[in-house]
Symmetry: C2
Subunit: 216 residues, 2 copies
Amino acid sequence: MSVDNLEPSEFSPRQNAVLEQALQLLVDGGEKALTTSGVARAANCSKESLYKWFGDRDGLLSAMIAYQASKVRTFERNGERLTSASLHDHLVIFSKDLLEVLAGDVSLALNRLAVGQSHRDGSKLGKLLLERGRRQIDRRAMGLIDSGKRAGLLRFHDADEAYHTLYGLIVSDLHVRMLLGEPGLKDTARQAERAVSAFLRLYGTEKVLAEMPLVG
Amino acid sequence: MSVDNLEPSEFSPRQNAVLEQALQLLVDGGEKALTTSGVARAANCSKESLYKWFGDRDGLLSAMIAYQASKVRTFERNGERLTSASLHDHLVIFSKDLLEVLAGDVSLALNRLAVGQSHRDGSKLGKLLLERGRRQIDRRAMGLIDSGKRAGLLRFHDADEAYHTLYGLIVSDLHVRMLLGEPGLKDTARQAERAVSAFLRLYGTEKVLAEMPLVG
DNA sequence: TGCGAACCGTACCGTACGGTACTTATCGGG
DNA sequence: CCCGATAAGTACCGTACGGTACGGTTCGCA
């Protein structure tokens, strides 16, 4: 466990390249394929360098998660005034993005890795994955929901509760199923549309409900 | 892969005892602790017997899942006439049961195991887990939802879709978080109540909505 | 009582992994 | 031109696992 709290600058370019190779290895062959020798061979570096840079195998895994998280940048919301239609659209886009992220090769591989290790390391990797990987997406959604409330389009007491409802409506048991090896959704757009529709029915104000197709 | 399609009788009592020990080992120490030698030692049996009974390590894992699934028996719904209140109560009970099952030690351990193996074996364990472990709970919920529809309390086109919505409302991202090592919910009753309330708001007919507290 | 099957306990084998040590080569600065 | 640092490549070590083989023991059964 050599790497801990160095948010900025993180790793050197060379180290990033090695981590990229390690991720590729993990995606292709699962954790079993992610051996220190394998990483060294794939990245054309020595095992000694691996251990100098990342401490031990766990440090390498942590670094892989940190590196992958550092690659994902979710563009901030612009401060535009939300309308009923634009809120709906933004929510649908968010839903599709979320489903796409969760279904991604690297995301699934890292989640599988962290799940598999959660017994050994006191869920260190799991924490890392949730904090570094999910925080951004959570913030994006929370910002959107808050904007909706300020625009008088959404009504709720607890933003966290509303967000978790939205998350459940979007993802359902899909994430776990994919982690277990099931192929992903055929039609993510439809799933996103359904989820947002249900969410707005639950949390939308009259202003929003008036513009929604009637149930039935 | 010695064990495949022998639904009834499954394993001998002795083998069941061994599988029980193996599950305990898995729960306590994760997959790393589940070695063939360890199982043999914990269960006071020989490795040779393990291989004779289960073929190889994968066969043992499959047998553990099958054995655990065979232990779970969900009582069938009685054919009573549903009222708005009883539908609500049954849904809440189902929600709490679902959360309790997903948070169970053995369930989490087996799910972690299957997730970790999903790369190697073409998700054989994952399929097994979903088919054997989830089918019963799914059927229970579907039966309940169908009864609600026949009683004029629920309205939907696609029962599957409605069920997945309910599932998402209940579980949200809790299952994955627990798989990653986060502690479970403090208050499952509240979560269940919220989920059912939202579900009924989405799929309940006027008969149900009339009796619900107004959204505030 | 004797026989055979099942099974326990243990020792064993090959392999593969995590981690370390050592040699060689590249490269920037005085 | 030399020197120290950094890192590639390789060889190596200890360990632990999956799987197999074998001797000894129990138990059902004729």
